[in-house]
């Protein structure tokens, strides 16, 4: 009886339904906690562009939230650098914009969140601007956050993350040692053109004299190329916003 086709089909159906219910039930129960953990992780990544990883690691989850709320304000802009407050009738906030989903749309239609790192309790005293990045690595998506200082040119810090780069090779973009190579680099050249920052092929060379090049990762050139494309693309998308902030400063300086 156990070997009859009917028995096998009934057995398989029951097994599938039971296991399916179990999994969807778990997903329902744990869903809110998972979303909370993801939101916290996102905040940590944003903060990672402006403060050191050790400082973040030392904070409890509530402290991260508190620090984030008191130090980061955010807006959403479009490709022209204009602030967007609602889309398709729903209001948008920077924290809820899914960069990965927006990435699938044409660049002109995407929403671009900007996270503004400011002095505690004083949103006017901006210390740096943090821009999300998103692109493709070797195997899967890569993303990150780049902080620009108020001159809108000098990189204050960067956090990079990935979905499935090779451990020990491309996955090294998450290491502080690699990310620190970006600190202090410039995105504009002397004549004011956006040239972004390029990670080079090969590793171990000194690029400290070149403001637009950083040392590469040995054995992970394709991931590095992905990072380069991502940085260049997104700085390009944010260029209108960056330029508007720059010209504001020029006006302020002239006054």
């Amino acid at each position: 009886m156990q070997q009859s086709n009917g028995y096998i089909i009934v057995f398989s159906v029951i097994l599938t339904v039971v296991l399916g219910l179990l999994l969807s039930g778990t997903s329902q129960v744990l869903g809110p906690m998972q979303r909370e953990a993801e939101a916290l992780d996102k905040k940590k990544q944003i903060l990672g562009a402006v403060i050191s990883a050790e400082e973040i690691d030392a904070m409890a989850p509530e402290e991260v939230n508190e620090y984030y709320n008191s130090r980061i304000s955010s807006i959403v802009v479009d490709i022209n650098g204009k602030e967007v407050t609602e889309q398709d009738g729903a209001s948008v906030t920077a924290e809820t914009v899914d960069i990965g989903k927006n990435y699938k749309r044409p660049a002109e239609e995407r929403l671009y969140p900007v996270f503004i790192f400011h002095e505690e309790g004083n949103p006017e005293a901006v210390e740096s601007y943090v821009f999300p990045l998103y692109g493709a690595g070797l195997w899967d998506a890569i993303w990150g956050y780049m902080a620009l200082e108020t001159d809108m040119n000098t990189v204050g810090g960067i956090t990079l993350a990935h979905a499935g780069e090779t451990p020990g090779l491309g996955a090294r973009i998450t290491e502080g040692e690699v990310q620190n190579r970006y600190v202090g680099k410039k995105i504009y050249n002397d004549s004011g053109e956006l040239v972004a920052i390029e990670m080079q092929k090969g590793e171990g060379k000194d690029y400290s004299s070149d403001p637009h090049k950083v040392d590469g990762m040995s054995g992970a050139t394709i991931t590095a190329n992905g990072v380069n494309a991502m940085v260049e693309n997104y700085l390009g998308h944010y260029q209108a916003y960056i330029d508007s902030k720059k010209s504001n400063q020029a006006v302020a300086a002239a006054n």
Partner: protein, 227 residues
């Protein structure tokens, strides 16, 4: 029951002691004499991949113990109803469900670990130790024995990967469970006394070397020879 799974002849005593000699052997055998990693050389992939640090290794070890024990229990409970023609796919479905559960729980309560281990938690599904125990034991034995057997095998896996991780983290990063041991040592003997870390230990090659040494030492002691 299929012809491949041999039902072991178990003496039908009315009440076997909860931890009888035979049952103790189920747990202790896989620790050394029949260790899944060092003797059967199963589950090597994850043993090499996750063992750069103690903390993720411990999480991985606990996850594997959970999956092996629970899948052994479930399959053993169902062993008389599973049609033998689809038994592999049934085992796979049960194991995959348990692994997904572990992965979801990690995602909710230990997101950093989830990020670090994500791929390798999923790969527990393909860990030969899990399916190996289901095929070789749980399909033909009672639930309690199967649980003990699974626990023993998983523990055999766990202590080996923890041992590998201990040496790799200590030698490769100079720390144990993230505690910078090498820095403390330097602190005691003065700053001139620096213990050097070895980058080789951080790469998977380091795991091969450590694992090879463990297997060597063990086989020297037990006199085990592959036939």
């Amino acid at each position: 029951m299929s012809a491949e799974t041999v039902e072991k002849a178990i003496e039908k005593k009315p009440a076997e002691a909860l931890f009888s000699k035979r049952r103790k052997k189920l747990v202790t055998d896989p620790l050394v004499d029949d260790n899944p990693i060092t003797i059967q050389v199963l589950g090597i992939c994850s043993a090499l991949a996750v063992t750069t640090q103690m903390k993720p290794t411990l999480v991985m070890a606990i996850s594997v113990i959970f999956v092996v024990v629970m899948s052994n229990l479930v399959i053993s409970l169902m062993r008389n109803t599973i049609p033998s023609r689809v038994r592999i796919i049934v085992q796979l479905a049960v194991v995959a469900t348990l692994v997904t559960l572990v992965s979801e729980v990690l995602r909710a309560f230990a997101y950093d670990m989830y990020k670090e281990l994500s791929v390798f938690v999923g790969l527990i599904i393909t860990n030969c130790i899990v399916m190996g125990r289901l095929e070789a034991f749980a399909l033909g034995n009672k639930p309690y024995d199967s649980v003990l057997d699974g626990f023993g095998s998983a523990l055999g896996y766990a202590w080996i990967i923890l041992a590998v991780a201990f040496f790799r983290e200590l030698w490769g990063s100079g720390s144990v469970f993230g505690i910078p041991v090498f820095d403390y040592v330097s602190g005691i003997f003065g700053s001139d006394f620096q213990l050097a870390t070895n980058g080789l230990m951080v790469s998977p090659v380091g795991a091969f070397i450590i694992l090879g040494l463990i297997i060597w030492i063990q086989r020297t002691k037990t006199g085990y020879v592959e036939h």
